[in-house]
């Protein structure tokens, strides 16, 4: 009975924090991470080719620009929304690790105590 109560208490405790404790990177990423350096650091290789009469003939390629390798680019949010590229969640990784180690110690302790009682 005590064990079931402990499990229920643990589940309720987890449910209380579950809504806030776990998340995807995209949910908590600051704006500057989501937009990245795209707006500032790309090379404006806008190839405004001009004809002999000085008229802009670049047409459809007017907005073309080149990005440095490894810099945020169009449609690459999935790439930069991975844990290695999101330092703002590294403290969460550390926090989760610490909580799990404490939980493991608690489980070991309780199972040892329960085992001794069972042997009697």
């Amino acid at each position: 009975m005590k064990r079931i109560s402990a499990l229920l208490a643990l589940l309720l405790l987890m449910c209380g924090c579950g809504e806030k404790a776990d998340y995807d990177i995209a949910e908590v990423a600051p704006d500057e991470h989501l937009t990245g350096e795209h707006a500032h650091h790309h090379h404006h290789g806008h190839a405004h080719a001009e004809g002999e009469d000085g008229r802009d003939i670049s047409g459809a390629v007017e907005n073309r620009h080149v990005h440095e390798a490894g810099v945020r680019n169009h449609g690459t949010q999935w790439f930069f929304n991975q844990p290695w590229a999101a330092p703002f969640i590294w403290d969460k990784i550390l926090r989760d690790s610490a909580i799990l180690l404490v939980l493991a110690a608690a489980v070991l302790l309780f199972s040892r105590l329960a085992g001794r009682r069972w042997q009697r």
Partner: protein
């Protein structure tokens, strides 16, 4: 500690005598060789393809190794009745579990190292440079494999080996999901699903194949953080497995 180490070495030797480990290593090497043989058709960046698929193959290898190595250890000990004399005098249950886990973890590590060397060889034979972070990336996949190993041990204490494999694969697949995808499985109970997701690791923490394949540097501190994260999950899972094991009546 000495008893655990001695028992781990015994476990390692008994696992190396089985055909399972050699079969899995052979499959990993054949898969890597197959990836190396795919023609590039002059498309640039073939090394990216080899690295991405190679590391994916190593991750699958870690899963296969965990299931192949550990799902049968405890059931076999129980069936052969070798567990009773082991636990009667020289070993406590925690030492038994840690010795078995450590032995399987060493074998898994050696197999992953062979896989990593195979991938390096494939890259070299194809005339591509070997990224410096390939070995650390493999080590992170090994940590993921150790977590899966602890999951297999956990299941092995209360399920049969044929059920152990699909349950472990299910945990593997669910752990790959983002929170959003996981909640999407039962959209009506998002609070419950978010709570359940807390119990599973975010496997993407161990995946750095994309930055390696695209030549992006990963900060060294991240490797330490990710390794700590995986080891913490493995320790937690082993503690739960031990709690189940302590409750088992072996008679």
């Amino acid at each position: 500690m000495r008893a655990i180490w001695t028992f781990a070495l015994m476990t390692m030797r008994s696992l190396l005598r089985r055909r399972t480990i050699w079969g899995i290593v052979l499959v990993i090497i054949l898969a890597l060789l197959g990836i190396g043989q795919v023609p590039s058709f002059d498309v640039s960046g073939q090394s990216r393809f080899i690295i991405e698929f190679g590391l994916f193959g190593l991750e699958m290898g870690a899963l296969l190794l965990a299931i192949g190595l550990a799902s049968n250890i405890y059931p076999r000990d129980r069936e052969n009745r070798t567990i009773q004399p082991l636990l009667a005098v020289p070993l406590s249950r925690i030492r038994y579990l840690l010795g078995r886990f450590l032995g399987a973890a060493i074998v898994s590590g050696a197999a992953m190292l062979v896989g990593c060397l195979g991938l390096m060889l494939v890259l070299t034979l194809n005339g591509f440079a070997v990224p410096a972070a390939l070995l650390p990336a493999t080590l992170l996949l090994l940590v993921e494999g150790w977590f899966l190993l602890s999951v297999v041990f956990f299941f092995s204490f209360w399920t049969s080996p044929p059920l152990n494999a699909p349950l472990t694969v299910m945990i593997f697949i669910l752990s790959q999901m983002s929170v959003r995808e996981f909640v999407g499985l039962v959209p009506g109970a998002s609070w419950l699903m978010r709570t359940l997701r807390l119990l599973l690791p975010h496997m993407d923490v161990f995946h750095i194949k994309d930055p390696i394949a695209h030549g992006v540097d990963v900060p060294p501190v991240y490797f330490l953080l990710a390794a700590l994260y995986g080891i913490a999950y493995s320790v937690f899972m082993l503690s739960v497995a031990l709690a189940v094991f302590r409750e088992r009546d072996l008679r």
